[in-house]
Symmetry: C2
Subunit: 220 residues, 2 copies
């Protein structure tokens, strides 16, 4: 094989690698999964039913930073779970784009013992701690995201505000990993990018929150 042929083979290999990961592929759609902003700092009570606090003051500042970051980005739709911390985060992101926030309860956080009025200590790493099963969560969140992708134009982008464990389970599922195999805590307002075309979906990036580096915003 001549040096020129070898170089051509190298570049073809690289092109196939990119295609496998939907890089540079025409018409790829993106879902930017965003974790809601902080809703717990300084809170007096989590209430009795479903845990559904509004954003805290620090959470509003985090969401402002996220909105600032997303202002120049082309966005076709903004979706959110119907929980207040997610909707309020989504509203701040959507406003500069003059887009409505559309809610879907399938994007809610995993149902926890706390939501059911009980107490639950922090789980051991790797131990699944929720009354709602991983399969149920994956089923509903993935279905919601596939519906959102289905409505997007080719090359379109949706922002989808959801929750820590719901995002973790979806991303792990897309990667083929089970609970506890991806020990990353997505920070408040962090951005996780999924890229999709037809039935294929890849994880482009995970949990970036580099817009929160100002002191007091929880980005460290």
């Amino acid at each position: 094989m001549s040096e020129e042929q070898r170089s051509q083979a190298f570049l073809q290999m690289l092109e196939r690698l990119h295609e496998r990961h939907l890089v540079g592929v025409e018409g790829v759609k993106e879902v930017w999964l965003v974790r809601h902003a902080d809703a717990y700092s300084g809170i007096a009570t989590i209430g009795e039913g479903l845990v559904d606090p509004p954003l805290s003051p620090v959470g509003r500042r985090q969401a402002d930073r996220l909105a600032e970051r997303m202002k120049p980005i082309a966005v076709d739709a903004v979706w959110s779970s119907d929980l207040r911390r997610a909707v309020q985060t989504a509203e701040l992101v959507a406003a500069p784009h003059r887009l409505p926030v559309r809610t879907d309860s399938r994007l809610r956080e995993v149902r926890t013992h706390w939501d059911e009025g009980r107490h639950a200590p922090l789980n051991e790493p790797g131990e699944y701690p929720f009354p709602e099963s991983e399969q149920e969560v994956m089923g509903r969140v993935e279905a919601a995201v596939r519906d959102i992708l289905g409505e997007l134009p080719p090359g379109g982008r949706a922002v989808v505000v959801s929750h820590n464990a719901a995002i973790g389970i979806l991303v792990s599922g897309v990667l083929g990993l089970g609970w506890g195999q991806l020990p990353i805590l997505p920070l408040y307002t962090s951005i996780t990018v999924l890229a999709a075309k037809d039935d294929r979906m890849v994880v482009r990036s995970l949990a970036d929150a580099t817009h929160l580096l100002e002191p007091g915003l929880g980005g460290r």
Copy 2:
């Protein structure tokens, strides 16, 4: 348990979760692992020995965008592998911070069949395709990163420019995953954040390249 006690228990659970992931912990250091910018678009030949092309024109534009993004971020040190595509990327990031680029060959890309003058087709997903073993790569890259962390002041941050598979193996190792279990291709100039304190290291985020959304920069 009263409602107030239950709320306190919830907040304590959350605090322990954050502590587990080194969020909001005093003195945490960060390593921002950056994949070098593009060096292959429009290339005529990969040469005969070690694959070591300089940045392509599109790669320079990618690295400019990365440098722009990193300009307002506090950085204490900039490290790079000694391969040209990494050093040139690091130089553009380091310049506004008036920092030197320090090189460490342990941060190099995995040694491939191409580096050894051979031809290698794209591997099947999950199949380990390199003559240098995963253990060797993990050993040298992790040692380099631990040395870089050791030199940083408490709360310090280093930028470390390395390569696709080298970053993938390090991050997988930190997460406890083996080759093929983390099918994410970090885009050129993408940022992966590791947080560390004492001997603990966590992956904060993975492969964000949202600074590359302008058309023609390869961010889609």
